[in-house]
Symmetry: C2
Amino acid sequence: MSDDRRLAVLRAIVEDYVSTHEPVGSKALVERHRLGVSPATIRNDMAVLEEEGYIAQPHTSAGRIPTDKGYRLFVDRLANLKPMSPAERRAIQAFLDGAVDLDDVVDRTVRLLAQITRQAAVVQYPSLSRAAVRHVELVPVGGRSALLVLITDTGRVEQRVVQVRSADDLDALPEQLAALRDRVNAAVAGKRLKQAREELAGVVRATAPGQEAVAAEVVAALGECLTAGLEERVVIAGTANLVRSGADLSASLGSVLEALEEHVVLLRLVQEMAEEGGADRGALSVRIGAENLHLGLPETSVVTSGYGEGEVLARLGVLGPTRMDYPTTMAAVRAVSRYVSRILSQ
Amino acid sequence: MSDDRRLAVLRAIVEDYVSTHEPVGSKALVERHRLGVSPATIRNDMAVLEEEGYIAQPHTSAGRIPTDKGYRLFVDRLANLKPMSPAERRAIQAFLDGAVDLDDVVDRTVRLLAQITRQAAVVQYPSLSRAAVRHVELVPVGGRSALLVLITDTGRVEQRVVQVRSADDLDALPEQLAALRDRVNAAVAGKRLKQAREELAGVVRATAPGQEAVAAEVVAALGECLTAGLEERVVIAGTANLVRSGADLSASLGSVLEALEEHVVLLRLVQEMAEEGGADRGALSVRIGAENLHLGLPETSVVTSGYGEGEVLARLGVLGPTRMDYPTTMAAVRAVSRYVSRILSQ
DNA sequence: CTTGGCACTCGGGTTCGGCGAGTGCCAGGG
DNA sequence: CCCTGGCACTCGCCGAACCCGAGTGCCAAG
């Protein structure tokens, strides 16, 4: 018995089912694919595949559909990604090249992904856990208020308004703040965010007597900023595509939309996929069906890839019904992630 | 013929249809409402209401459902908003009181609205068209880069990284920038954004010879920031509620989701509602059904209210199927907008 | 103006076969 | 040993016929 042919049959079933959305039978299979054998032979193969859990039949006398396990085997061993056409590559590049800043890059990327895959897209903001402080600025803005701005070397900016309640000499405050800013910068510039947080205590200790209170207030706010900077963010787009492609998964559509709005869930998802990606975190990672059930995403598959300048900073990908076109989706995710990485390294 | 009773009949039809989602007949009406007359009488009234275009029947022999015109009459003359219970008020207040900054207020508000109305919620960021510049800061961040930060008196912050390509003396750059910052602030602080943009040209003209190029670059970036600051933004939440409440409007759900993702469309919608609101822009404004068709929102109604500290800064509201529960929705929108306004004035 | 009666309409749900796709099994041939 | 054609069987889907009942419009009487 040819093991190869059985795999070919599984591949054919997946491809047909994805394109027609209908259970596929042995006869239709031999007609649409040049398998070189008769339907009866295919039937035997299908019986074995069903035995092993790769396919299943919805009702007794209907065609077979792939199971999650079948899709898994398909993406792991059978799928050969379809390279994008030159025209598509040019379109991607042109669309992303117009971006003016980090926010714009992320925004364009997520829209682009949603558009070319016709599914829901997710982009995680470049992770700051490895980011370092580039500069801290402290701007008096009248009264007891000051604006605290934190800039990281990944180009992200966090800001916060600080109320300096303990200031006793408002006229002298701007100078105090300027001095404080210089000391803070000397202490944390170039350091990773986490480490920077630890350095802050030293800054307050080294402050001239009578100004500790002000310094403590500002430093506390900066601490919050550093923590907030570590906080991950995601952006999504293309949710409308879910209702189109997944007219069948309409039952679970509600819960999927709900999960998508809870960015915490998405962050967790992205996190998990980064971890199971193993050594090469920039490689494609695919989650299929029930593997996402614990996140409130039933009948849903997710394809992500790491991206970033040089090292992997974050992940991006798309999310759609289990019966998605994996080869094209994976190719698109990979292509976009590469272009984004390239853009970011400029 | 009693005109009052006909209105009562219309009100009863709207209420019943909203709660059951099924066409309502004359018999069911007299049973569920104490109208004091027989079904036959109701039938006559219904015939008149249909004649005048307030109700319609889906098929020849079925009950009646309200038309857009019927809903319009209902919200304009028949709806008495149901005041929120003390418990609900406390919940709203508690939820909003936890907010730490403007972004957080907006985020919490939109989630809250979606949750209590069980529909999709929209919150427009406080409008900056009337906002004034509080401060402009210019921070050198190494090499030819500088960070430009624009703070408005509404608490919003815009930032942008500027590449100073024309600088010929990098060591002197920080000082140049500091001087430039002071001149810019003198020129635009306290001015409205639009007016500030016009003042910028004067700043470049008044620059010392040899530094015009740098000044021009920075001022150009600031101009973009001011323009971006004028740009309106909206936040949405609760899209998942649409698929629940609108299992019936499933046909148009795709286009509605699409429109919701296009923030431009929502801005336009909010803008239009603000304009037609007339004198009292803080009052509730309701758009029903086909009135939103040109925005790609079929079978959709929108309820919004202006909000803001003192004057109306922006709008918030909810969006759902035409057959929504207007009285409770309107009461919720009004309550939330008042609480948000109160929070913002602190 | 309201009321009860009455004939009529028509959409929705149900039942019932027929059709066809698809299967599993088996015996025969390479 | 594997492939093949044949054959009986199973069900889900589809269309037709059908009934039922809610709802209506009209009319004559109070």
